[in-house]
């Protein structure tokens, strides 16, 4: 299998709470370690990635976290301002128009404008060049919103192209869509847990990305996987210890669910599945991300 390093935009999504930010942080760190200038983007949320990596919060402006690794939390107000300045070109004009209370009110109701500027900022950085002509960022890792929101977020360019009258918004949307759907540029990584709903959501997400957004699923990550530990014989032997039996049985059940979930993902996504085991650490920080990264080595670097 080819590694993610061949692509420039890595989109990470899945059900809420499954470990999207964890996986995005690990992937971004690996990319940076491979010598790629890497930007990891969170979208208008409580920032987690900088915290996982034990750096101060990045905030709404691109910030260097460590060698080759930048982060940003893309927020609507700031993104709108940058976009506004780009279109209107003059700060003073921007202020008159965009800092008008009524205009602000009005902009909120223009369909998908907010998503468009959020995504627009990310796409802008994807095309940004250094003075010597190289990409400013070789890799952009997008820690996308959870399933439903991710689908509507990533479909915005497509939807706008179809519905909005010809004009500046639809032209922007068209450009973005072309990059998003280019399989040489963009790849999705879907994250799930070994539980029914998160797996189902990953399948839904896969279908929607494929059919509506036209983004390919590169791989799935089965996070918090539980490896087999207790054999049937172990469980039988524990029959006389009811409390221990319960604990062992629960562990065994979760291990079976892990196998089931892995199979279901592989069959339906036609993409490789990488297991990241559940970690037992007092705090979930840099050490955890480094460990997760270790399990995603082949996903990033490809098979040797």
């Amino acid at each position: 299998m080819a590694g993610l390093l061949d692509k420039r935009l890595w989109v990470v999504s899945g059900k809420g709470g499954v470990g999207k930010s964890t996986v995005a942080a690990a992937l971004a760190l690996r990319s940076a370690r491979a010598g790629r200038r890497t930007l990891v983007c969170e979208v208008n949320t409580q920032e987690r990635i900088s915290r996982f990596l034990e750096h101060p919060a990045a905030g709404p402006e691109v910030k260097l976290l460590e060698e080759n690794l930048w982060a940003v939390d893309v927020r609507p107000q700031e993104a709108m301002r940058e976009y506004g300045l780009m279109v209107l070109r003059f700060e003073a004009l921007y202020k008159t128009v965009f800092e008008n209370r009524l205009v602000r009110y009005f902009l909120r109701f223009i369909p998908s404008l907010q998503e468009l500027v959020l995504l627009g900022k990310i796409m802008y950085h994807l095309q940004e060049k250094l003075p010597d002509g190289r990409w400013r960022f070789d890799t952009i890792v997008l820690d996308a919103p959870a399933t439903g929101h991710a689908i509507s977020f990533l479909s915005v360019p497509q939807v706008l192209v179809q519905t909005v009258p010809q004009g500046p918004m639809s032209r922007e949307a068209q450009k973005m869509r072309d990059l998003l759907v280019d399989p040489a540029v963009t790849a999705a990584v879907l994250v799930a847990l070994p539980e029914e709903m998160p797996v189902n959501e990953a399948l839904e997400l896969h279908a929607a990305l494929k059919d509506k957004v036209h983004i390919r699923t590169h791989a799935a990550v089965l996070n918090q996987a539980i490896p087999e530990r207790f054999t049937e014989a172990d469980l039988e032997a524990l029959a006389g210890h009811p409390e221990l039996h319960r604990v062992a049985q629960a562990n065994h059940d979760r291990a079976s669910l892990t196998v089931l979930a892995g199979t279901k993902l592989e069959r339906n996504l036609h993409a490789p599945v990488f297991n990241v085991p559940r970690l037992y650490l007092p705090t979930f920080g840099r050490d955890a991300i480094e460990q997760v990264m270790g399990h995603l080595e082949a996903l990033v670097m490809g098979d040797k």
């Binding site: 059900k15 809420g16 709470g17 499954v18 208008n44 949320t45 409580q46 976009y83 506004g84 279109v87 209107l88 004009l93 008159t96 128009v97 008008n100 009524l102 205009v103 009110y105 009005f106 902009l107 909120r108 109701f109 223009i110 369909p111 998908s112 404008l113 919103p145 959870a146 929101h149 509507s152 519905t163 909005v164 009258p165 010809q166 004009g167 500046p168 918004m169 639809s170 539980e195 029914e196 709903m197 530990r229 207790f230 172990d234 032997a237 524990l238 210890h241 409390e243 221990l244 319960r246 604990v247 062992a248 049985q249 629960a250 562990n251 059940d253 037992y280 650490l281 007092p282 979930f284």
Partner: protein, 370 residues
């Protein structure tokens, strides 16, 4: 019998709203509360937004739709109890509910135009808080009809707590189209946008149209005008929804995971609820890992070496998780003084049948603790 704050709430409240971040157990808690209230003698409706079929199945229904369906008595058989009142369940179809609302409040000659307008589509699907709003509007409607003694509302995973609490205000805001009039009136009069650069609003408009294109602005303005006919009906309802949220007979059940890293969201949510003068009946900490007991460690020491090693490894893992949860819960308690905190353990498997809903209920109501 109940020893937790949810006992009196189930007995007296008319509306309970389960809120919290994605995946914490809102739907599970909502279904459990409805079930328990019906068994204890109040006609209840669980209004969920979760398309998961297993929830329907666990209530003995083949599917849940936008209509209220009675849960058959046979569904409760495995529990060995009979409900003293009826339990109904429904799954809210957001789009359908918005359409119903428009049909109800729009002047007949405007309906079709509104429903087909793309700005309406974005209001009903994309506007932050519109899903939350329509869910609450539905409850308001149900509450007004008064067929149920208790309505339990399950809410969508909310990325931003404020989207939820602010929803009625945003909808009111949307209707308050003073801004639209101010911006668009001259243009409408002239039949064209941006006629005059000397006119202040014309100037702003021209700049704005650089973003959106003029056609978009024209469409938006005509949509706003077509809405004006239903403003009063809409406005009255939005005010009703807001009042319902603050009503003494309405309570919020804030569901959270015990994980210390996720605590900030729950704390933020509870602070906002307080600021909005909405009552949090209970903070449900769901999926708590219990600490392995001393007896378990002693018992493990009697096993053969390989089994002992496996079991002790598992107990050590559980210990790490339990200690993590303990820290999270302590943080939560400190940040939300005065709000009753109820713990539900993490079960071996998902909560997907009536028996496990019932078991969840025993913890919610304090029949079981750990």
């Amino acid at each position: 019998m109940s020893t937790t704050a949810l006992g009196p709430a189930l007995a007296k409240k008319r509306v309970l709203i389960c809120v919290g971040s994605g995946g914490v157990g809102k739907t599970t808690v909502a279904a459990t509360l409805g079930l328990r209230a019906a068994v204890d003698g109040r006609d209840s409706l669980v209004c969920t937004i979760d398309p998961a079929k297993r929830l329907a199945n666990s209530l003995g229904l083949s599917a849940l739709g936008n209509a209220e369906t009675q849960v058959p008595a046979s569904a409760l058989e495995p529990l060995g109890v009979t409900a003293r009142a009826s339990l109904h369940a429904m799954m809210l179809d957001m789009k359908q509910t918005w359409d119903d609302l428009i049909t109800r409040v729009a002047p007949p000659d405007q309906r079709e135009r509104i429903l087909a307008n793309r700005f309406y589509q974005s209001l009903s699907t994309a506007l932050a808080g519109s899903q939350e709003y329509i869910a609450m509007e539905k409850v308001w409607e149900l509450r007004r009809k008064g067929e149920y003694e208790l309505v339990v509302l399950d809410t969508p995973p909310t990325a931003h707590a404020l989207d939820f609490l602010d929803a009625p205000n945003r909808v009111l805001d949307f209707l308050d189209n003073e801004a639209a009039k101010w911006l668009l009136a001259p243009a409408l009069k002239a039949g064209k946008l941006g006629m005059s650069l000397f006119n202040r609003s014309g100037y702003v408009l021209r700049a704005l149209s650089k973003f959106t294109g003029t056609e978009m602005l024209q469409e938006l303005s005509s949509f706003m005008l077509s809405l004006s006919g239903m403003n009063e009906g809409f406005r009255e309802r939005a005010r009703g929804v807001r009042a319902l949220l603050e009503d003494a007979s309405t309570g919020f059940v804030l569901v959270t995971s015990p994980h210390p890293e996720r605590m900030d969201e729950a704390i933020h949510f509870s602070t906002l609820l307080k600021q909005h003068r909405m009552e949090v009946v209970a903070l449900v900490v769901n999926r708590v890992h219990p600490l392995p007991t001393e007896a378990m460690w002693q018992d493990a020491a009697t096993l053969t070496p390989t089994r002992r090693a496996k079991v002790e490894e598992t107990l050590r893992e559980l210990q790490v998780l339990a200690e993590q949860d303990g820290r999270g819960i302590a943080q939560l308690q400190a940040a939300c003084p005065g709000i009753p905190l109820i713990q539900v353990p993490r079960f071996g498997l998902d909560v997907h049948d009536i028996t496990s809903l019932w078991q969840t209920g025993r913890f919610l109501l304090g029949d079981d603790t750990f």
